[in-house]
C-alpha cells in the first residue's frame, strides 16, 4: 500500500505536465506553425491537439476553386516527423509528404471546389517500448489575397 502512495508525486507531476502541454499548444501553433504559412495569410482557424506516437487524425475541409492554399502541419520536438496525406472523396491520395521528405507544407490550388481530407499520422518512434511520447500537432491553412 505504501508504495502506491509513493507514486502520488509521479501522478501529480504527470497530470500537471499534461495540462501544461495542452495550454502550450496554442502558443506552439501561434509561434512555431503560423510563421511557416508565410507569405500566405492564416485563415484564423485553430486546429491543434495533443497527439501521441502512433495516433492518427483526420481533418475535413472544403477548398474553393481559384484560391491558392498552403497547408502547414507541424508537431512539437518530442514527436517524430509528422506524416500527412491529402485525400479526395474517392480516396485517391493527392499528396503524401512522406514522398517529399516529410515536408511541413504543401502549396496547391484547385480548379474545382471540393471537400478534401487531410490525414495525419504521428509515426511510432520505436525507440523505447516503455515510453510513449506526446506533443502538440497543429494543422493550419493559409491563402493569398489575390
Amino acid at each position: 500500500m505504501k508504495r502506491y502512495f509513493q507514486l502520488i508525486p509521479v501522478v501529480v507531476l504527470s497530470a500537471a505536465l499534461s495540462v501544461n502541454s495542452f495550454a502550450q499548444c496554442k502558443t506552439f501553433a501561434k509561434n512555431v506553425c503560423k510563421p511557416i504559412l508565410d507569405p500566405f495569410i492564416h485563415d484564423g482557424n485553430y486546429n491543434a491537439a495533443i497527439l501521441t506516437e502512433g495516433e492518427e487524425a483526420e481533418l475535413y475541409k472544403t477548398f474553393y476553386s481559384g484560391q491558392v492554399y498552403r497547408i502547414s502541419i507541424c508537431g512539437s520536438e518530442a514527436l517524430p516527423k509528422i506524416q500527412f496525406k491529402v485525400i479526395d472523396s474517392d480516396n485517391n491520395v493527392l499528396y503524401d509528404n512522406k514522398s517529399n521528405g516529410y515536408s511541413q507544407t504543401w502549396d496547391f490550388k484547385t480548379e474545382a471546389s471540393q471537400q478534401l481530407k487531410v490525414y495525419i499520422k504521428v509515426p511510432a518512434s520505436g525507440k523505447n517500448q516503455e515510453e510513449i511520447n506526446s506533443g502538440c500537432v497543429a494543422i493550419m491553412f493559409g491563402f493569398k489575397d489575390e
Binding site: 501522478v11 495569410i41 495533443i50 472544403t62 485517391n92 480548379e111 474545382a112 510513449i132
Partner: protein, 313 residues
C-alpha cells in the same frame, strides 16, 4: 529560439496512474463489504498489464477528427474573389450587440460580426472595421473570452489603419485567440457555433448580392452552390457537438438548408494533381458542372434570410 516542452507519458507512469486510481477507488468506496477495514489490496498485476496494453492499443487506434469550416476571414475572401460589391447595409448593425444575452446568440453573432469585420477590412473600410472590431470585442467579452483584442493589438490596428495585410493578420490572430480560448476551456461547442454564425453571414451577404438580373453566369452563384460541400461539414460539426443543446438546436435548421442544397447538383471530374516546379504549387486539375435553377436559388435565398434574421434578432 524558444523551446516548447512536451509531455512524455511513459507507460510506467500510466500504469502508476491506473494503480493509484484503483487504490483511490477502493478507498473512497469503502471496499471491504462493510467488514473490518484493511490496508492490504490485492491487485492482479497480469490483468492490470493486459488492461494497460488495451489502453495503449486504444490510444493508438483513436482517431481525432476535425471539421474545418471557412473562417470569417476566408469567407470574406471568397466573397471578394467572386466579385462581391461592398454594401454596408448588408452587415449586422453594431447597435444590436446589446440584444445578445444568451451564449448561443452571443456565439452566433461573434461569428457574424467577425465576418462583417473581415468583409469591411477587405474593402479597406477603415472606420467600419474599427466599429466591427469593437462590436466583436464586446460580444466576445460577454461570452467570457477575455482580451480577444489586447491593448497592443488595438494600438497596432490604429497604427496600420491603411495597411490591409496587417489588418488581416490582426483579424486572423484575434479569431485564432478566441477559438483556441474556447477549445482550451472545454467550450469547443461554442467555437463551432461561432463558425456556423460566420458561415451563415457569408451566405447572407452572397445571396443578397444576386438577383434575377445577374443570376446567369454569375461567379457568386457558383460560390454559393459550392457551399454544399461546407454544409456537409456544418452538419458533421453539429453532430459532433450534439451533446450541447445550443449546438443540437441548430441541426433542424441546417437540415432544412440541406434539403434545398440537395436540389443543387455538382458533378466533379477525377482530380489530376500537376505540380508546377517553378513555384512549387500543385494544381488539382478537374472540372465541375453545377446545376441550379433560379427557383431553387430563390428558395435558398429566402431560407438563409429567415435563418439570418433569427440569428441577429
Amino acid at each position: 529560439m524558444k523551446m516548447y516542452r512536451d509531455t512524455r507519458f511513459s507507460l510506467k507512469a500510466k500504469q502508476n496512474l491506473s494503480v493509484l486510481l484503483l487504490v483511490l477507488f477502493f478507498i473512497t468506496t469503502g471496499c471491504g463489504g462493510g467488514g473490518k477495514g484493511t490496508d492490504e489490496i490485492n491487485v492482479d498485476e497480469d490483468e492490470l498489464s493486459q488492461d494497460l496494453q488495451e489502453l495503449k492499443s486504444d490510444l493508438n487506434s483513436t482517431k481525432k477528427i476535425f471539421y474545418s469550416l471557412p473562417s470569417p476571414l476566408e469567407t470574406a475572401m471568397l466573397l471578394k474573389s467572386a466579385g462581391a460589391r461592398y454594401d454596408e447595409e448588408l452587415l449586422n448593425p453594431v447597435s444590436n450587440t446589446s440584444k445578445y444575452t444568451t451564449n448561443k446568440k452571443m456565439a452566433l453573432n461573434l461569428g457574424i460580426y467577425t465576418t462583417d469585420l473581415s468583409f469591411a477590412s477587405l474593402y479597406d473600410q477603415t472606420q467600419t472595421s474599427i466599429k466591427y472590431m469593437n462590436a466583436s470585442k464586446e460580444v466576445a467579452s460577454r461570452l467570457g473570452i477575455l482580451d480577444i483584442f489586447s491593448d497592443t493589438t488595438i494600438k497596432r490596428l490604429e497604427e496600420n489603419v491603411n495597411n490591409r495585410d496587417v489588418i488581416m493578420d490582426i483579424i486572423s490572430e484575434t479569431f485564432m485567440n478566441s477559438s483556441s480560448y474556447l477549445v482550451e476551456n472545454n467550450r469547443a461547442a461554442i467555437s463551432a457555433i461561432v463558425l456556423i454564425g460566420g458561415w451563415i453571414e457569408g451566405l447572407h451577404i452572397a445571396t443578397s448580392l444576386v438577383n434575377a438580373t445577374n443570376f446567369d453566369n454569375n461567379k457568386m452563384v457558383d460560390r454559393i452552390a459550392d457551399q454544399k460541400f461546407s454544409l456537409d461539414i456544418v452538419i458533421k460539426l453539429i453532430e459532433k457537438y450534439s451533446y450541447h443543446e445550443d449546438v443540437a438546436s441548430l441541426l433542424v435548421t441546417m437540415k432544412e438548408v440541406k434539403d434545398i442544397y440537395d436540389k443543387i447538383e455538382i458533378r466533379t471530374t477525377k482530380i489530376e494533381p500537376m505540380k508546377d516546379e517553378s513555384n512549387n504549387v500543385t494544381t488539382l486539375k478537374s472540372s465541375s458542372k453545377i446545376s441550379i435553377t433560379p427557383e431553387v436559388f430563390n428558395e435558398l435565398t429566402l431560407k438563409i434570410k429567415t435563418i439570418r434574421k433569427s440569428f441577429v434578432s
